[in-house]
């Protein structure tokens, strides 16, 4: 019987075509109407080192990258050595016959493919190796190669010879695996909508920022956030905005605040080390009440840590990093699709509340490709900041209003002149150090965020609403948790998850209400010290069990399922 989804893992040396094979396969699967999600690991070295590209594809929406590998493609011996133990029980192996030795006990389900040989013979160069591999994969999973051939024709539209050679290599690869043809056949997609898109978390953020109306982006390269800088450098000018690569993260955030002060929606993107450098300016933004959006694509820490691995360990830094209690908002999107919407939310909250917003993703979510529904742009709602324009009363930049949000003067606007300052100030913006004034201003700066705790924010609920086992998580773990909940409920477990989108200010009441009837509350997260678990304990005063791991890899649904099943009350 055909399967609903397959997990394909391609492994080899970086530079060998592993990534391009994975990319082609992913794009072709998406074109063919499948849902996909990818996951890759790559070395921190520039050239060489082992790399792996995993594609999970299926007829139904896919939320996690999958655990047991159905089809392992080894480009070299190291690939086998590193990945054989990820093979599922019926996993099939394709390997380059000249490069890999497969142990006897796996021989029955392993098929040699003449990758290098055919690439040279038919494709005319080693470059076509990836196409041989893709062809062999397509055969095993009974994947129609038309979308792949279409892609090749498009890519080499002006080089007929290269296109022909690639297609020949693809077909030859298919012949290579002929005896395994269909052994991992996947079911055809049932409903094929035209409006699905394939993008990474970083891309979704970049497009989301454009949807939100960003007009100024400044950044400094850092893995895994650099794609945002690169993509916006190409695209932002096309909608009338500016992208600048600054000399460092301090300059990036400083210029973002300058641009926002001058009236345009502004953003920067970084990873942990860069966020550390931005901290002082984030405090300024909170105090001077200047909107800005900071993307933190977390990576493995501490320090320069594991730059190409994933971790969710900047949560506390994002929430509290900095001196002297300056307000900010922290949002964590849960899927690639949500990266788009959460970025719009980030701009909206930032503009309305005149506060810096940190958007927390991580290497896993930032770099994975996912097929998602094309966002319905009619649903986009944009909020603007309150300005001093048209005020019929004396202008006070930091006026203590009912909702604690004050009108912002925008340079160029007559009568809105004020001096933005991080020094404690009175309503006019003049330095003022009296105890009363400081209390009033601190109160104002925090009070204006109250609505973010109470109702306007989207949370994500999955599974039972009042479960016996309650899972509380944030960000990229959502997909694996969601799939695990399906699996656990199929076995009769009472389980549900709650994912706050906004973590600061923390929606303590909702989380407490969700966990009220639970026998056990578990917090899975990818870090060492259980940062979210501590936050939940502190904010909600409920006992929670931390399930933190920090191996640099995202959770799989099976990991989470184990966590759930261990806790089933017997």
């Amino acid at each position: 019987m055909a399967r609903k989804s397959v997990v394909i893992r391609l492994a080899g040396e970086s530079g060998e075509g592993v990534i391009s094979s994975g990319d082609i396969l992913t794009q072709a699967a998406a074109r063919g109407g499948y849902w996909t999600q990818t996951f890759r690991t790559y070395p921190a070295e520039i050239k060489g080192g082992p790399c792996m590209y995993q594609v999970r594809m299926g007829e139904e929406r896919i939320y996690s990258h999958g655990k047991d590998v159905d089809l392992l493609v080894c480009f070299n011996q190291e690939a086998w050595d590193l990945h054989w133990d990820s093979l599922g029980p019926d996993g099939v192996i394709l390997f380059d016959e000249t490069a890999v030795d497969i142990p006897e006990e796996y021989a029955a389900r392993a098929r040699p493919v003449r990758m290098e040989k055919l690439a040279k013979e038919i494709g005319g160069s080693l470059r076509a190796k990836n196409m041989v591999a893709v062809g062999a994969v397509a055969g095993v999973i009974s994947f129609n190669t038309t979308p792949i051939e279409e892609l090749v024709l498009r890519r080499y539209a002006h080089k007929q010879g290269v296109a022909d050679a690639n297609i020949a290599a693809l077909r030859a690869g298919g012949d290579e695996s002929a005896d395994l043809r269909g052994s991992l056949a996947i079911t055809d997609p049932v409903e094929v909508e035209a409006d699905r898109i394939l993008m990474s978390g970083n891309q979704a953020i970049a497009v989301g920022a454009i949807a939100a109306g960003v007009k100024y982006f400044a950044g400094y390269p850092i893995t895994p956030a650099s794609d945002i800088l690169e993509w916006l450098s190409a695209k932002l000018p096309q909608v009338g905005g500016i992208t600048i690569q600054c000399e460092d993260e301090i300059a990036s955030i400083s210029s973002v605040l300058g641009a926002s002060y001058a009236g345009v929606k502004s953003m920067t993107a970084t990873s942990g080390p860069g966020l550390s450098l931005m901290t002082e300016m984030l405090g300024y933004a909170g105090t001077a009440e200047i909107p800005c959006v900071v993307i933190d694509a977390q990576r493995g820490g501490p320090s320069t840590g594991l730059p190409t691995k994933t971790e969710q360990s900047d949560l506390q830094h994002a929430l509290y990093g900095g001196h002297g209690e300056a307000p900010r908002v922290v949002i964590a999107p849960i899927t690639v699709e949500d990266c788009f919407w959460a970025t719009i939310d980030a701009f909206n909250y930032s503009e309305r509340y005149q506060v810096p917003v940190i958007l927390l993703t991580d290497q896993g979510l930032a770099t994975r490709m996912e097929v998602i529904h094309k966002p319905d742009t009619d649903l986009i709602e944009l909020w603007d900041r309150r300005t001093s324009a048209g005020l019929d009363r004396e202008y006070k930049r930091y006026e203590l209003t009912e909702d604690s949000i004050s009108p912002m003067g925008i340079p160029g606007e007559e009568g809105g002149q004020y001096v933005s300052t991080g020094i404690e100030h009175d309503e006019l913006g003049h330095p003022a150090y009296t105890p009363e004034n400081h209390v009033a201003m601190q109160t104002k700066r925090w009070a204006k965020l109250e609505p973010l705790k109470n109702g306007i924010v989207r949370h994500e609920h999955y599974g039972e609403e009042q479960p016996e086992i309650a899972i509380i998580g944030f960000g990229s773990t959502y997909g694996a948790v969601r799939e695990a909940i399906d699996l656990a409920r199929a076995e009769g477990a009472s389980v549900g998850a709650f994912y706050p989108r906004v973590l600061g200010p923390f929606p303590g009441e909702q989380v407490t209400a969700f966990a009220a009837k639970a026998r056990r509350v578990v917090v899975p997260e990818v870090n060492f010290t259980g940062q979210l678990a501590r936050l939940v304990r502190g904010e909600c005063g409920i006992p929670v069990e931390s399930h933190a791991k920090c191996d640099g890899l995202p959770f799989t649904a099976e990991d989470v399922l184990d966590v759930i099943m261990e806790r089933i009350p017997s």
Partner: protein
Amino acid sequence: MSTVPAKRKPSDYKSELKPIWCPGCGDFGVLASLYRAFAELDLDPANTVVVSGIGCSSRLPGFVSTYGFHSLHGRPLPVAMGVKLANPDLNVIAVGGDGDGFAIGAGHFPHAARRNVDITYLVMDNEIYGLTKGQVSPTSLTDQKAPSTPWGNLETPLNTLAFAVASGASFVARGASFNTKALTELIVQAMEHKGFSYIDALSPCVMFNNHQEEWKELVTDVAPDHDVADKTAAFDLALKGGFKMGILYREQRATINEKYAALVEAAKDSDLETMLEAFNARKGAAIGKPTV
């Protein structure tokens, strides 16, 4: 009959705040020159932004009735860049101290200069940290005794003018708080200059480094026949002993603002829908159930 609107006066740029500087502080002279220059240029206060960092001198925006941005220690240049890139129609001037600009903020200076951001940067150079009470700064003299250098300063002062020329600043000048007429004129020229203009304004700290009398001895004007377009000559003047007053270097080259404006003009042709469509998973595909 049409009337010519009256030009603004220096006092029109005074804010309601009184400067908090020590009596006799050089920064008063710089502020007075700034008011006069703004009046001479008849700048619209609603269209002008004064950006600063942290330090005694960086309090200056508070005393001016334009828009102001009193930022963080060392950060006036990137902030000013953001302001100017976001709205190129604004007049943007960054001000601050030598410690602010050339210690903590030194990393930003060469980049603002080489980018030729269209702003003016006015440094009130007192060769000391005023606000933190008299420690040495990057421009303090070797052997100077200060609270943090009780045995004498072991370091060589930074030559900010040579640094500015080397970094690619397109306008480099020196003035002094004790000659407000000349300083006013320099500020006017710097603000009229298209590109990154740097003015080092000697501005004594009467509390911790009162060198006003020595400095007056050391200043000489740039010779009238000095070729401001000659970079080597500018270096020569910057490296000479004493203080050369006036414009050392000036060059006209495209600003980053102009370059971005041209880039955006040339690139502007897309919208959100088009960008989303580029990610369409089935772009160009034969829509429908694939056949196996």
